[in-house]
Symmetry: C2
Subunit: 384 residues, 2 copies
């Protein structure tokens, strides 16, 4: 037996009661039983998204929901503004290119956040821009952008704000309606605590107006068909839904409701802070900002003289803790501790223990126990 | 307790060992463990598709895989040939329209099959047609088209043949390579015996040539990116895969291999025949052809004086057997017994029993036990 924990920013750990729900006998999707379940799931999603807008559900990964925003909001050649401060911001950029949009790209060094002032300037300089695509929690770096500020800025323009919250929804603060976010896209395999395969889009009235004018071709990800389904008294999806994942989501949303969304976000804030404090106590350098907003993923610079792949191999194979490496140009330079979803202090203690042990095995100078002690201290402070 | 069986043509019953596999703790997809699993799954899919071509895997419903064929093979304005002999053939037609193709549509009355001669004539009349879109098992009617004949015809042209085998793969004969089918798209929730949420596309060299010339925009369903993933030594997907469904598929493919694909198809042929014979013995009229090829779904005309919704409600609520109704214009006129996937003679016996009892409850004249006796007879003949 080797007890393992998954500390990657997606997929994440799935609670046993959710795994069990996902393995119930499959039910048919055109039944009252399924409609009741789906209605409950949509209500639960609205609770987590903090929105009264329509929430649409797709059988796809989060990238599918991102694509759905592009093809439902845009027409060929449309001017759009894209912020890119990491791999997932760059994905908006790639999609804009793939779908023939005219993208004004605001690029930021990996590890830094989008400057909302830049968005204001880009909107002022491009009054014909119809959409602003940005990222909430940038999974590749751990940065969480100031969506509240960006929301206020975009709301004053005619543009629609689209936020990729795949890793941030339910782990970092995101108040869709209060912050005037028109579209939030998200995935199932992060803080929603179910396996990958479901994706979501919350869509405001301002966005629906743009949807009606969109001329990019679409079929599977057609929002209007999905809306017709969710607005029914017996809500449904246009195509066969991922039934077992939806059943799992129902169970996971129940857990989130029991804890309360404010408490869930606060728990993540503490997990992030404990991770950062422990990393610093070990003398390592943070890559993600040392900021309470960054509560989904903690990115750490691989210390001088240490081989990233070997460090993570030891953590995983010897100490049972799987972290993620860097992506793209960050490969080998950083590693990432994901703590969005089904995580508590014990997971952070285990992760920091594994990190200390692995560094020690690699003869990197660490005072064993120092990081873990800091985790406990931080949790103690927070509890008081 | 109410013991229930799902006799719908998707989702279908999932074997307990497959359900159990789907609820294993989620593993990360960028690991050797997952690559080994995914390599095994692709091998198993090639075995079921009877192909040496690339098989690509998407987190989506079968409709997503259909769309992937359109956007990867076509350019705006392309002339294509579409056969429509039911709801799913019409879906090709709707997609061709949504993506701005110039579709020559061969339409057939619901319940009848595509005439391969019409495809030959359409190709002769439209030498610039680049793709023929057709349907293997038309789930809405129970018809299984003669893909072998259509394959031979299309192979002599420059056009690429795309077959929707969502409900037919693994339940009706389909020899992708021998029959010269360029592209087969399929879903997970039918004869592959797992919950909905995965979809597949098998792609020939002739199709890949067309893919390189395709100019419809695409991102999530980009076949070239998916091919780069599956051709690696450590195969992977471009975006986060539906991990738990892939684990389930690995278990289901193992069951199919143990039985052997020829035996699996033969079992379905017998299930179809027993269903048809029983229906006829009860004096009801078949809607799907009385043909051994139609081994996925048996469609039955709702008898005069019987209310379809009440018949199926009784079968489901009183006798625990859930069948499907008609779709679109067939609603209320037919009901459908799905037997693609995890089904054996006992499921047919139960279904026919429920049908007899429900008809009897509705005071429709049936000789109780006559249909069931016919099922047993047919299985006896087949066994000898």
């Amino acid at each position: 037996m080797k007890k393992k924990i998954l500390m990657t920013p997606g997929p994440t750990q799935v609670p046993p009661e959710v795994l069990t729900a996902s393995s119930r006998p499959v039910i048919h999707h055109r039944t009252r039983e399924y409609s009741e379940l789906f209605a409950r799931v949509i209500d639960g999603l609205k609770y987590v998204f903090r929105t009264d807008n329509d929430v649409l559900v797709f059988a796809s990964s989060g990238t599918g929901a991102m694509e759905s925003a592009v093809v439902n909001l845009c027409s060929p050649g449309d001017k759009v503004i894209v912020t890119a401060c990491g791999k997932f911001g760059e994905r908006w950029q790639q999609m804009a290119e793939a779908f023939g949009l005219d993208a004004v790209v605001l690029s930021y060094e990996y590890g830094t956040a989008v400057d909302p002032g830049d968005v204001a300037r880009a909107l002022a300089d491009n009054r014909d821009a119809s959409v602003v695509f940005t990222t909430h929690s940038e999974t590749s770096t751990g940065v969480v952008n100031d969506i509240e500020a960006i929301g206020g800025i975009v709301a004053e323009s005619d543009a629609v704000l689209v936020v990729d919250a795949v890793s941030g929804l339910g782990s970092a603060e995101l108040n869709t309606d209060d912050w005037q976010v028109d579209v939030v896209v998200a995935g199932s395999q992060k803080a929603l605590m179910i396996p990958p395969g479901l994706a979501f889009a919350a869509v405001s009235d301002k966005a629906w107006d743009l949807v009606e004018r969109s001329r990019l071709p679409k079929y599977y990800f057609d929002w209007q068909k999905a809306r017709d389904g969710v607005r029914r008294d017996d809500p449904t999806t246009p195509y066969t839904p991922a039934v077992s994942l939806t059943v799992a989501l129902d169970a996971a949303l129940q857990l989130i409701r029991e804890e309360g969304i404010e408490a869930v976000i606060d728990r993540h804030r503490r997990l992030g802070r404990a991770s950062r404090e422990a990393v610093k106590a070990l003398g390592l350098e943070l890559f993600s900002p040392d900021d309470d907003a960054c509560s989904s993923v903690t990115a750490v610079k691989v210390p001088e003289g240490v081989e990233d792949s070997e460090l993570r191999r030891l953590m995983r194979d010897e100490y049972g803790v799987q972290c993620a490496g860097g992506q793209g140009s960050m490969k080998g330079k950083i590693f990432r501790i994901g703590h969005c979803g089904y995580y508590n202090y014990a997971d952070i203690v285990a992760t920091i223990t594994a990190l200390e042990q692995a560094l020690n095995d690699l003869e990197y100078p660490v005072e064993l126990g120092r990081g873990v002690a800091r985790v406990v201290e931080v949790f103690g402070e927070d509890a008081s």
